[in-house]
């Protein structure tokens, strides 16, 4: 064991490999007994260089690549990119296609929120709720497979529309599943608001005031649990959210319980949207013709992912490959809130506070170049290559 500098601090390392983390991230919590006195985070263990890779592929290839940024909310990535590119190309996508996009997005939200409910329950040591939530999640996963052919990377988007149509069998299946899931959600809402041991772990834990939430730039359910009215579906409706407006779900307490409640209540909102889309699905084509070369220009595209605002910046140089694609995923906005709320809590609360923002690590790992006092830090391509060779020698 290498001799390290002695200090009075007792640091509990969580990660890069730890049972509480499903993806690698490194957190150091300074503890005094059971109480946390300091917290720091280090990310970047799963940087994959997708943004750079998009510049070497055509727009159509990029769609598949970007869908693989996140294994949970894959559809919103593809949708955000497709919406941006369609805006650049000046193409109007058929209404039916936009409605199906929203339909899949809401089904994805259900699957993501149920997944989160299970993970958060597991962090609280409530494995029964974990198993139940994941069993019900299978319903919506099966539906997505029926509709799109895939359980995870649905791949229903194409530039200019969607690939798959909703037929009567699928419509029936979805409506039945929504009824079933709604009764289950009643149970979960009751559970997270009345089960005493669970409330003991969530009520008053990790409180984030509205001002703090706004200052740290939190997004999605994390922000909405603190009373911040942030929802791209409402602020800047995209795809078919104009025809099928979403209602915002707000809780004001800002603790972990509020984050549970917001996500569970958003499930109801998704059920309502899905039912309303299926009852008034506009007829028409699924795709429209897309040019292969996208006219020069730049645009941004924002969608509401299950975890919050997903932001795409796309710059085109007039060829069939993008000049630059910048992705900002919601988790990166929310990480600061973990560090801000962790201090002063018990060590046992830390995994719950961490999972309270529904973190997705591989989505948000970026290369950052720091401009500090010593000038710009960083390495060039050749230096990086040499470093890699040396590291594994």
């Amino acid at each position: 064991m290498p001799e390290t500098k002695h200090s009075d601090k007792f640091i509990v390392p969580i990660g890069p490999q730890h049972p509480a983390l499903k993806e690698p991230g490194h957190f150091e919590f300074t503890v005094d007994g059971e109480t946390v006195t300091g917290a720091s985070v280090r990310l970047g263990f799963v940087h994959r260089g997708i943004e750079k890779a998009t510049e070497e592929r055509t727009y159509i290839q990029d769609l598949y690549l970007l869908e693989r940024i996140c294994g949970i909310c894959s559809h919103v990535h593809a949708m955000a990119f497709a919406l941006g590119v369609e805006k650049l190309a000046g193409v109007t996508v058929p209404e039916r296609a936009q409605a199906i996009r929203v339909l899949v997005a809401e089904m994805e939200r259900i699957h993501s929120h149920l997944l989160w409910l299970g993970v958060a329950a597991h962090e609280a040591g409530f494995d029964t709720l974990f198993m139940y939530a994941w069993r019900d999640r299978e319903k919506v996963m099966d539906l997505l497979e029926q509709l799109c052919g895939n359980r995870v990377n649905y791949s229903i988007n194409v530039l200019g529309g969607v690939k798959e149509d909703v037929n009567d069998t699928i419509r029936e299946g979805i409506l039945n599943a929504m009824d079933y899931l709604e009764t289950r959600t009643d149970l979960y809402l009751k559970l997270v608001t009345t089960e005493r041991t669970l409330i003991g772990r969530t009520r008053g834990i990790g409180i984030m005031e509205k001002q703090t939430a706004a200052r740290l730039g939190t997004v999605g359910p994390t922000a909405r649990a603190s009373g911040l009215e942030r929802d791209i579906r409402i602020e800047a409706p995209y795809a078919a959210y104009m025809q099928y407006p979403a209602r915002i779900v707000i809780e004001n307490t800002g603790d972990l319980e509020a984050r549970f409640v917001v996500r569970v209540k958003e499930l109801y909102e998704s059920f309502r949207l899905i039912r309303s889309i299926l009852s008034t699905l506009p007829a028409g084509e699924l795709t429209t013709k897309m040019p292969r070369r996208i006219p020069e220009g730049e645009t941004i595209s924002r969608v509401e992912a299950p975890r919050g605002e997903l932001f795409y910046y796309i710059k085109s140089n007039g060829s069939d490959k993008p000049d630059r694609v910048k992705v900002r995923t919601p988790s990166i906005n929310n990480f600061a809130s973990v560090m801000a709320t962790a201090v002063g809590h018990k060590l046992a609360d830390i995994p719950m506070i961490l999972s309270g923002i529904d973190p997705c690590f591989s989505c948000n790992d970026r290369m950052v170049s720091i401009r500090g006092a010593e000038g710009r830090q960083g390495v060039d391509w050749e230096g990086l290559r040499r470093y890699g060779i040396e590291y594994y020698r």
């Binding site: 049972p19 059971e34 040591g125 029964t128 709720l129 041991t197 669970l198 003991g200 772990r201 609360d349």
Partner: protein, 311 residues
């Protein structure tokens, strides 16, 4: 058969030793299967505990640096020995206890605590940060449930007027079930048993999402196998004690199986019903409600006894 031969047999084979270990594995299987079914999972196959045990025995035991190796290797053995010894004073399988003397109740309870104590020491022995936190939590939990658990088992002892497990069990057999006469004591004893075995929701000492595996994080192979088996043995002994004291005794093997498994069903249900308690919540629960209530009940019992009321 000579007296010595009989003692050796009862120590090594039946009702102590191998028989208790086998029972421990069977009960672990039942517990795991029940919890799995409650949680909508399939659960393990019947031989899974045995397979786990053999696998762990076959694995290399990694001894980490910077520790006391003798302690590291012998603590699990001591823990196991403590659990097995306590089995000799308990009416296992509905038979007479192998040995008994006045005051064996106190001895048995202390023997049962050796496992927890060894777990705590094992965690404090290694330089792993998760182990140290786990050890602190294990010992904190020990101090929180031990006194109420002890007091809860003293209730029937006072009613029977003896500190001898066999005598108390005979008393319980011929009287109405004590769980109705002393409901607080029964509840505290049952939940105390769950705390002792670190079952959910009292599994803060080994909460995997916080501190990996708690005090036993650095253990692998034989040591870990022994700790696990020791805990299974304690599960059987604890269930037997509670059933014998509070559920009208375990007069024959059939009653033993029916009552302990009935109790295990309740324990498994409780395991799957709640979220994990934080260690401060556990301590609060025990000292604010458990200890106070059971003390009150004990006081009532003593007063009634003093005035000669039949209980």
């Amino acid at each position: 058969m000579s007296e010595n031969m009989k003692s050796i047999l009862s120590l090594l084979l039946f009702p102590g030793g191998l028989a208790v270990m086998a029972a421990g594995m069977v009960y672990e299987f039942i517990d795991r299967k029940l919890v799995a079914r409650f949680q909508n999972r399939v659960g393990p196959r019947w031989f899974q505990p045995l397979a786990d045990f053999i696998k762990l025995l076959a694995k290399e035991e990694v001894i980490p640096e910077g520790i006391h190796p003798v302690l590291f290797q012998w603590l699990p053995v001591v823990a196991m020995a403590g659990a097995l010894t306590s089995a000799l004073y308990v009416p296992m399988f509905g038979l007479e206890p192998a040995f008994h003397f006045t005051g064996d109740l106190v001895v048995t309870i202390y023997l049962l605590s050796i496992l927890t104590l060894c777990t705590g020491l094992a965690g404090a022995n290694v330089a792993n940060r998760f182990s140290i936190i786990g050890a602190t939590r294990t010992l904190t939990q020990l101090f929180s449930y031990e006194a109420p658990f002890l007091l809860a088992l003293f209730g029937p002892a006072i009613a029977a007027g003896s500190w001898d497990i066999a005598v108390i069990e005979q008393y319980a057999t011929i009287h109405p079930w004590l769980m109705f006469l002393q409901p607080v004591g029964f509840l505290v004893a049952l939940i105390g048993l769950m705390g002792k075995l670190e079952l959910p929701p009292f599994d803060a000492p080994e909460a995997e999402t916080e501190i990996v595996s708690g005090a036993l994080t650095e253990y692998s192979g034989r040591g870990y196998a022994l700790f696990r088996l020791g805990r299974n043995v304690e599960l059987v002994i604890g269930l037997t004690l509670v059933a014998a004291f509070y559920m009208g005794g375990v007069a024959n093997p059939f009653l033993f199986i029916a009552k302990t498994i009935g109790l295990l069903l309740v324990v498994a249900a409780l395991q799957s019903l709640f979220a994990r308690l934080r260690i401060d919540q556990t301590v609060g629960l025990w000292w604010r409600s458990g200890a106070v209530l059971v003390l009150l009940q004990l006081l009532v019992l003593i007063v009634l006894k003093y005035f000669g009321v039949a209980i």
